[in-house]
């Protein structure tokens, strides 16, 4: 996994609430047996009309908005556990998602792929959505070490599990860690009494 330390980018606002993983990557694109190329179909049915033409009303198709940070409405990533959603967003070029609430499984999947979910208050999010919509050129900075998000709305700290933070900063994943626990796991198994 790529190391994540500090990061600055413009942002793309997506104010829709309850964006589910079926919207992020529709089921018909889940037939692949590897992790590559899902970015091509991220938000497929919002980016393209039924006839395959580009939907110019959708923010990802608006040339004014560019950047590797997605600012999304409340309860982002609900629904299916498909990690393909995190792969698709990452493959498309996103490194950070900011929302006022994330669904559990999506949040874990994102963190396992070096895609940082940052939770902010609802008021902060609404103001940030307004500001990034009005002025696409504003820059947002994330300092993971200090757990600080800096935007024109203000400088705020965000929470992240200290273990996950260590993993992101060093580019580690849970597999390395779990393998190091082999002996403890075997001792546990030998003593199972349920």
């Amino acid at each position: 996994m790529e190391k994540f330390i500090t990061f600055t980018s413009t942002a793309i606002p997506l104010p829709t609430e309850n964006v589910d993983t079926d919207q992020i990557i529709p089921a018909r694109f889940l037939k692949a047996t590897d992790k590559q190329g899902f970015g091509e179909n991220v938000f497929r049915d919002w980016r393209f009309n039924k006839d395959g033409s580009t939907n110019n009303d959708f923010v990802l198709n608006n040339a004014d908005f560019r950047g590797s940070i997605l600012v999304a409405g409340n309860n982002f990533g609900c629904g299916s556990s498909r990690e393909h959603a995190a792969w698709a967003l990452s493959d498309y070029g996103f490194k950070v998602i900011i929302s006022s609430f994330f669904a559990d499984i999506f949040k874990g999947n994102a963190l396992n792929n070096g895609l940082l979910p940052i939770q902010v208050s609802e008021d902060y999010l609404n103001e940030l959505l307004t500001k990034t919509t009005e002025n696409p050129s504003i820059e947002l900075t994330i300092d993971l070490e200090q757990q600080i998000l800096k935007t024109p709305v203000g400088k705020v700290s965000f929470k992240i599990d200290s273990y996950k933070k260590m993993c992101l900063i060093n580019g580690y994943d849970d597999i390395d860690f779990l393998i190091s626990k082999k002996e403890k796991i075997e001792t546990f198994e030998a003593e199972i009494n349920y």
């Binding site: 079926d22 089921a27 047996t33 049915d45 999947n109 198994e189």
Partner: protein, 465 residues
């Protein structure tokens, strides 16, 4: 302070605790399927790691399988490749696979309980959010991403923060024709789609105690639709009777010993929950959804609420509905009875009981998809197939089918589908399709009438045939 059912099972599975971090949780059973496992196998192969406990893994093909002509080669090349990959991965790693056509094949959350694999007090995971289904047995069961599938492969453990505890109580007498699906749709409509996020939910009260195992599975299945990672119901005699004698259930003395342990798996009277809700069963009616998330549900006799919010309005525009209108009498051309929520034998008995002696409406295309080969066999043996066929219905072969429309079972663009599945997201059942979630009884009644009808006014009681 006492412990909750969830605490008891969780605490028994903690291998290690990281300071200010997650816990290492031992996983008893790992269920896998063709869609979310290939990249995990690939990850292990690339890193040269072997699977730790292949005998604790069960595999099936369900998400991406056809529901007709399963004996023929799969037409879609990508789907065929995905299934071949699963077969190959299971063969190489000595994993039991109930492949397409196997007598135990079916939807993973239907087959594991019916084979007696799911048992109280276990921890179970699967790369599928509806793994919460197995919580009906007093099991900690939850969906995981593919990175986590790989983690369980290498260690039979997961790194998890212990979720908070939520209890939903439903007590009282359910009105006639209100099914377990209505109960869970009612709860989600009251609490919303993210009310359970960060929590594990226990369902308690006489309504769940009196439910069959099939009903409890329907309820726990949809826990994820309110954001909860899982749902649980304390095991009791209904649970023990269901498990007894099943293929992989403990046998003889071992079974009695297990029961003694399983009986301890209930929430202590002095245990404390982080959050608790209570509902009166008599307030529940047959439920139906009108929007694009499962929380957007109403009693079938109610009107769509008038909420001024851009996301809400976007959702109604997609569905082609207006604020303040009723769904009753809406013409419906598609009906789907199936999915890991409602494709068990009880669901088909209820549908058959209603359909018996009636005829399917001419405008309706109805897909009846059993959850497993064993359910399909039961449907035939109990004479339900004849009832369905006489009424103009055709049974398809087992699989996830039109619940997520990965295969050819897609609802055409712009069409409504009254569906017993679990998600009404935009395009979930096919691009441009519009899903209306309901119970198997409401779905059956819709197929007969060709429009949405209020089942509580139709018949007296959902007797079993």
């Amino acid at each position: 302070m006492g412990k909750t059912l969830f605490d008891k099972v969780w605490d028994a599975h903690v291998v290690d605790t990281i300071e200010n971090g997650p816990q290492v949780l031992y996983i008893d059973k790992h269920l896998i399927h063709e869609v979310t496992s290939p990249q995990a196998f690939q990850e292990l192969e690339e890193r040269g790691i072997t699977i730790a406990r292949p005998n604790q893994i069960i595999a099936t093909a369900d998400h991406n399988t056809p529901t007709i002509d399963q004996h023929l080669p799969i037409k879609d090349a990508l789907s065929r490749k995905q299934l071949q990959q699963l077969t190959e991965n299971c063969r190489k790693n000595n994993i039991t696979l109930y492949d397409l056509g196997h007598k135990y094949n079916g939807i993973i959350h239907v087959i594991a309980p019916e084979l007696g694999i799911t048992q109280p007090g276990m921890t179970m995971v699967c790369g599928d959010s509806h793994t919460s289904t197995h919580g009906a047995f007093g099991t900690i069961a939850f969906g995981i991403g593919t990175s986590q599938v790989a983690q369980v492969f290498v260690s039979q453990c997961l790194l998890m923060q212990k979720p908070k505890k939520l209890r939903v109580n439903v007590n009282g007498k359910l009105p006639k024709n209100v099914l377990p699906k209505d109960v869970i749709l009612y709860i989600i409509s009251k609490l919303g789609t993210n009310s359970g996020t960060g929590y594990f939910c226990e369902y308690a009260g006489n309504v769940f105690e009196e439910m069959s195992m099939e009903g409890r599975m329907t309820v726990c299945n949809m826990s994820i639709e309110m954001g909860a990672r899982g749902g649980m119901i304390a095991p009791d005699e209904t649970t023990f009777n269901y498990i007894k004698g099943r293929e992989f259930a403990p046998k003889g003395d071992n079974f009695d010993k297990k029961i003694a342990y399983w009986k301890t798996l209930k929430t202590d009277t002095d245990a404390v929950f982080d959050l608790e809700y209570s509902f009166d069963a008599s307030d529940i009616e047959p439920m139906i959804t009108y929007g694009t998330n499962p929380g957007m549900g109403i009693k079938i006799s109610e009107t769509i609420p008038e909420i001024n919010n851009a996301t809400f309005e976007k959702s109604l525009a997609y569905m082609g509905f207006n604020k303040g209108e009723q769904l009753l009498e809406k013409e419906i051309n598609y009906v789907f009875i199936g999915s890991c929520t409602n494709s068990r034998i009880e669901d088909f008995r209820i549908a058959a009981n209603y359909i018996k002696g009636k005829q399917k409406a001419a405008n309706v295309t109805a897909w009846l998809v059993p959850g497993s080969q064993q359910v399909a066999k039961q449907i035939t043996e109990e004479g339900l197939q004849e009832i369905f066929e006489e009424a103009g219905f055709k049974l398809r072969q087992p699989g996830c089918s039109a619940c997520l429309a990965m295969n050819d079972d897609k609802i055409p663009e712009g069409e409504y589908c009254v569906s017993t599945s679990n998600r009404n997201f935009e395009g979930r059942q096919g691009q441009g399709s519009k899903t209306i979630l309901a119970s198997p009884l409401t779905a059956a009644a819709t197929a007969i009438a060709g429009k949405i009808v209020n089942i509580s006014k139709e018949i007296k009681e959902p007797e079993l045939v």
